[in-house]
C-alpha cells in the first residue's frame, strides 16, 4: 500500500482544480509551500496571494475576494485558521455566507512535539459552531482528493481538516458526497463511528476485532457538519451500542454531534474515544495517540469495553 503526504496531496489536487477553474485563488500566510502550493505559486503567481503571517486579515481578505466571485482557498496550520482568526471566520465567512474554503493542516496532534499551541483539538467544534459552515475531515488519500473537489464544487463556506503524517493511498476513486457517511463493514454487535485520519486506525482495529469474532459495524463520516444523522440512526437502532472515535477534544466534535443525533431519537448508548479536555504534552505523534487511547490497541480496547458493558 502506497503512503502519501496529505499536504502534498491536498495542494496538488486543489492546484489541478485551480488550473482548470480561474476563479480559484490560493491565499498563503507564509505557509503556502508547506500546504503543497509551491508549484502552483510558480505556475499561477497572479492567483497565489501571499499575505504574510496575518491570519485575521487573510480570512477577511478571502471573504472580500469571494464577494467578487473568486473561490479563495486559505490553508495554514489548523489553530491559526480556526481559533486565531475565529471572529473573522465567523463574521466575514460564516455570517456573510462567502464561498471561501478554510483548510487547517497539521490538524489534531500532528504537530505533536510543538505542543499545545500547535495542537488542533477544537477545530471541529469552532468551525462547526458557525452557522452555514460545512466541516470536512477526509481520512485516506482517495477520500482527501475527492473531498477537495467536492469542497470546491460546493457553493458556500467550508472548513476542512487535514493531517500531516503519511496516509494510505488505496488508489480508488471514492465518491464524496458532503453530508453523507458510508459503511466500511456491516455488523450487529456494535456501531463504531469515526472521521478523518482516525478512520485509518479504526479500520485496522475493527478488522482485528472482527477477526476475533466481534461483529462490528464501521461507519465513516468524513463530513462532521452536517453530520449524516440517517446512517447513524440506522446503524444505532440495529446495534444499540455506539462508539465514536476522533482525534479531537471530547467536547464539541464528532462524539458531541453523534450524541445530539442519538439524544433526539432516544436511541442507543454512546461511548466516546476522544481527547480529554486538558492541554496535552509535547511528545511524539504516536505517543499522544497512545496516551489518549487513539492508537489501534486503544481503539480495540474501547470496543471490547463497550460490548462487555452491555
Amino acid at each position: 500500500m502506497t503512503l502519501v503526504d496529505p499536504r502534498k496531496t491536498f495542494g496538488a489536487t486543489v492546484s489541478d482544480c485551480a488550473l482548470e477553474r480561474p476563479e480559484i485563488v490560493v491565499l498563503s500566510t507564509d505557509s503556502g509551500k508547506s500546504s503543497g502550493f509551491g508549484a502552483f505559486a510558480e505556475e499561477a503567481p497572479d492567483r497565489y496571494i501571499e499575505v504574510g503571517i496575518a491570519e485575521q486579515a487573510a480570512t477577511a481578505i478571502a471573504a472580500g475576494l469571494a464577494t467578487t466571485g473568486a473561490i479563495p482557498v486559505l490553508c495554514s496550520i489548523a489553530p491559526f485558521v480556526t481559533s486565531r482568526n475565529f471572529e473573522f471566520f465567523r463574521n466575514d465567512i460564516g455570517y456573510m455566507k462567502q464561498n471561501v474554503k478554510i483548510v487547517g493542516r497539521n490538524g489534531g496532534f500532528t504537530y505533536s512535539e510543538l505542543g499545545s499551541t500547535h495542537h488542533s483539538l477544537e477545530d471541529y467544534a469552532l468551525a462547526g459552531s458557525i452557522p452555514n459552515v460545512v466541516v470536512l475531515a477526509p481520512g485516506d488519500a482517495g477520500e482527501l482528493r475527492a473531498a477537495c473537489r467536492a469542497m470546491l464544487d460546493y457553493e458556500g463556506p467550508v472548513y476542512m481538516r487535514i493531517g500531516s503524517g503519511p496516509i494510505p493511498d488505496f488508489r480508488d476513486n471514492r465518491e464524496f458526497v458532503i453530508g453523507r457517511g458510508y459503511y466500511v463493514t456491516r455488523g450487529a454487535d456494535l456501531t463504531v463511528v469515526t472521521t478523518g485520519y482516525t478512520s485509518i486506525l479504526v479500520r485496522e482495529a475493527v478488522a482485528a476485532a472482527r477477526a476475533g469474532g466481534l461483529d462490528v459495524e464501521l461507519v465513516c463520516v468524513p463530513t462532521v457538519v452536517p453530520i449524516d444523522a440517517g446512517i447513524i440512526l440506522e446503524s444505532a437502532n440495529r446495534t444499540g451500542l455506539v462508539l465514536t472515535v476522533e482525534e479531537h477534544y471530547e467536547f464539541g466534535g464528532l462524539g458531541s454531534r453523534v450524541a445530539d443525533v442519538l439524544s433526539a431519537s432516544g436511541g442507543a448508548r454512546l461511548s466516546k474515544v476522544a481527547v480529554p479536555q486538558r492541554n496535552q504534552p509535547s511528545s511524539t505523534y504516536d505517543d499522544l495517540l497512545r496516551r489518549n487511547g487513539l492508537d489501534v490497541p486503544g481503539i480495540a480496547r474501547a470496543m471490547m469495553n463497550v460490548v462487555q458493558s452491555r
Binding site: 477577511a60 475576494l65 473568486a70 471572529e87
Partner: protein, 281 residues
Amino acid sequence: MSPISCDSSRDLALRARRNVLRMLEATPAGHVGGAMSCIDALAVLYASVLTIDPSRPGDPRRDRFLLSAGHKAMAQYAILAECGFFDKSLLDTYGKEDTALGGHPDMYKLPGIEGNTGALGHGLALGVGMGMGLRQQNCDARVFVILGDGELAEGSNWEAAAIAAHYRLGSLTALVDVNGMQISGPTAAVMSMESIPEKFAAFGWRVVEVDGHDHEALHDVLTLPSSEPRPTAIIMRTVKGAGIPTIASRVESHYWKPTPEELDDAIRSLGLDDRTAHDSR
C-alpha cells in the same frame, strides 16, 4: 454606470441627518454621534464619487463602499434611503421587531450594503480582498472604507494596511473618521492612536488630511487622480454629533438616547420646524 444623480452633497447630507432623526423617532436610542461625524463624507461619496446604480446594486463593475465602523449604520441607512436604494418608509422600522435596519448593516437585508460590518477591525481587510478581486478581473472599480479612529486600536487594521501597501492597491481608499471620541471618553485618553497620518504613511500609504465636514475639500481628495499605485488614507478631522448642537463634541453622543425635548431641539436645528415639514421630507 454613472455617479448617482443626487442634489448637491450638502443637501444630501442635510436630508440624511434628518433621516437619522426619523430613525430616532422610531426607536429611542442609537449610535448618533459617529453617524453624524461621518455623514458628510458619505454624502460626498454617494452624491459625486461612487460609480453605483441603486437600480442595479449588484452590478459587478460598481464601486464598493464598506462602513467598517458598522455601528454608524444610521448614517449609511439614511444615505442609501435618500439615494433610492430602498423606500424611505423602511427608516421607520429602525430598531423594531425583525427590522432590515439593525444596529449594524446586513448585506442580505438591504440593497447597497457590501458587507456585514460592525465588529471593529474587519472592514479594511474586507476592502483589501474586494480590491484584489476586482484587480484580478481587470475591473477598475474603486473600494472605499470608512474607519473610526477608536477602531484603529484593533490590530487587524494594521495587518490589512501592510498588505494593501505591499500589493500597491491604488484602488483602495480608507477614510478615517477622526472625531476624537469613543465610548469611554476621548480617544487620546482611552488609547491614543496619534499620529494617525504618520502611522498610515509609515505603512506605505498616500495620506491626505481633510476637514471631514468640508464637502469641497472631501470631493477634491476623493477624486484625486487614481493612477497612484499606493492605497490612500484620508484622515478626516470631524466633530462627533456634528449638526446637532445639543450633542456636538460630546462623548455622550456616542449612543444617544434623547429626551423628547432634545429630539425636538435637534429637529429644529436641522430646519424641521414643524411636523408637517418633517413628515413630508
